[in-house]
Amino acid sequence: MNAQVPPTGAGFSRRNFLSLTGLSVAAVAVGGSLASCTSGDAGAGAAAGGAVKLPTYKEFTGVKPDLPGTAQGVQQGFLRMPSTFVTSVPKPPLSGPVTAMTETFNVPPTPMSSNPFWKELNTKLGGDLKLTIGTDPGYPEKFATMLAGGDLPDMVWLPSNQGIPNIAQMLNSQFADLTKYLSGDAVLEYPNLAALKPAVWKSVIVDGRLWGPPVQSTSMGQVYLGNPRLWNTVGGIQSKSADEFYRKAKELTDPRRKVYALAPDYVNAVHMFGEWHGAPNGWSASKSGKLTNRFETEEYQAAIEFAAKLFAAGCFYPDATIANAVAAVAQGTIGAYVEADPSQNTKLRQYDPALAADILIPFGWDGKTKPTYDMKAGGAAFTVIKKTSESKIRQLLGVLNYVAAPFGTAEYLQVNFGEEGKDFTFDSAGNPVVSKSAQANVALSGALQILATPEQPIYSMYPEDTRRAHAAEMSLIEFASFSATTGAYSNTDVKLGPKLTSQLYDKLTDVVTGRAKIGDWQAAVKRWRAEGGDKIRSEYEAALAKGVTAGS
């Protein structure tokens, strides 16, 4: 905005709008929707860890999935909603009111005093759950102001720890160390939290301690989703080599008919191509404990070059941003886009109910190399508890345990849909449908899902998609790759990581779009190393040397 044009922000000059993003194209995920995080760099998880025993993993067996998941990360699949709902929380966890702060990507719900859905939940919890709800963007600012003002509620959701520097010190000074409540078998007192998978728990260890349960829908990582109607004309999206894929993409692209092979998310595309070359996920560790970042590898560079080749051939959509890539793919304008995880393949049905999306399984770029499939790197979000008495902590953990009740339990139904008959009804296929009049009340579930969540199953109105996604995940997990630094903490990474990574992504975009040469990328990596990359590396190496297991 131009100062010549009078300012239209009452009370705030544009200068402090610097922290207001209003972004719709953010490549750096600060919080952001759980379903659409880009693959961040290996998160700053724990410090001198290793000492901390992960919570014992106890699979929840009360509900039998149609398609079982695996402890490593494959999600359970449900072809239909169960018809009976098991109770997983026998006793209400609260004995008094509690406060919490969370975010919602939904519409804000009707306030508690006039919201029957909320009141019913409070009854089941045994006390009032008073929520302060932030929106996106704006949560880090709200959090910082409440922190500075000393107004924090009992429980606070923290977005995956980018954008909160010195998080270890902050947690130490303000929040309760929950290691003794959650480590090892202690977590079994909260069975729904024990059902959260070890890989996700590992990513929220900070400074060698546990501060709260992770909030992540799944640890499955990004995949290309494609429109079979387009790809089938060139032999199907699944390929055996990069050359084959290139040929197909070129054949598919026809600007005259407004058809382009790939959506213009260059960073994610390079991520996908990198998997074909076997590039590491975040950081990879050698046998001697030396770490290499994917940016430094030849594999990643080759991926960038491949993307540049595709761009030069016109295979990417010609605008750098597109309002709705999913819709474009469903309509046949774009062939494929990168989705956050395979279970989201159902999204295309929103635009074309008859379209079953293809999921591209990574393959070796030359037909011989072993590909990798990157699980979600970067720490998950997690919810922390202010320093307080043991009994209060137990109550609060009990609330999180309730909200994290797995799919198919009575609590899950309560949290996400409410009371049958009052808030929702079951349709003929057994799916719960929220009534129009209750939608504003049930919108609270959006905020609850951020506060705590079970691992989401693969489930939608389309059993066909569920089967496909599950089958894809079973294939993908075969070459699943985790970051070597999950569970390790580097203060420099938290502080400088976002800035350094965004510089690299800028250069990546320049090279892919032809504005810069691959030599410029190499120079940018050198700069990354000098400005913080090497320091981050040494901090992680030190953390790993102290005994945190290298990524599985």
Binding site: P6, P7, T8, G9, A10, G11, F12, S13, N16, F17, L20, T104, F105, N106, V107, P108, P109, T110, P111, I133, G134, T135, D136, G138, E141, K142, A144, T145, A148, G149, D151, S217, A323, N324, A327, A328, A330, Q331, T333, S343, Q344, T346, K347, R349, Q350, D352, P353, P432, V433, V434, Q439, A440, N441, G446, Q456, Y459, S460, M461, Y462, D465
Partner: protein, 304 residues
Amino acid sequence: MAITLPRLSPFKSDRPAWKERPSALYQTLKGVIVVGISLAILIPLLIVVSTSLADNKQIIASGGYVLWPMHPTLDAYKTIFNGSLMFQAVGVSVFVTVIGTAVALFTTVTMAYATSRPTLFGRPVLLLVLFTLLFAPGLIPMYLMIRQLGLLDSLWSLILPGALSAFNFVVMRSFFMNIPAELIESARIDGASDFTILRKIVVPLSKAVIAVVGLFYAVGFWNAFFNALLYINDTAKWPIQLVLRTYVLQGKSLTANQLGITQMPQPQAIQMAVVVVALVPILLVYPFLQKHFNKGVITGAIKG
């Protein structure tokens, strides 16, 4: 006239007596420019409105933006106004805008007038205001101040911090400085107090600038949302912009297991409906202010 002849020009002739008739070339040129600019603006706006009224099928088929809705539907608007949240937000925004503009105008007019004439302390106060053009307090200190004043979760936290904009102040003061000194002097000789002069002479002569500055303030209050995000926890007190933004977000973030279960209008329709809803009040207000921007408002003030 007993016989009505067909009018050649579609426009009423508002030409004042002293203006001569322009050449045809000039008229055409102006006409082309006016029409051209209008189209350049109206067509995209038409797209916005049409998309908000279009049905799901058409939006999907046309790639997101629609020029003319074939089967218009109000679904997007119904979705936005579902529940009481939106109506409350409208009430909040109206309150904040109306009261805020009144407070801001009062503060600005008094300050601007006082510093437009030689006044004791006038100079330092002027500098104090101008200083605010260049720097801005940070989010956290502002939050702490609001908290200190007990304004957290109160609508006044949305009104008071915006009570004086240095830009608007400078504009208004400049207009005040142009008011002829003789008018003021003669009133003073007649024994009028400063406030009376302000009320009876300065303000009536400055209707145009007060209308403009009032509009600037009103739009500022109407559009604000970030301070509500920080200062207001009670969602019943959220202003309209904040609520509207959540609808835009929501359209983007539906996860797979919610699809099909809750049928919703397409995200673009909702986003465009949001834009339209935010625009409507401004559209209603502006015509009332327009009359102050036309020639002829000030006639013979000197003679008075």
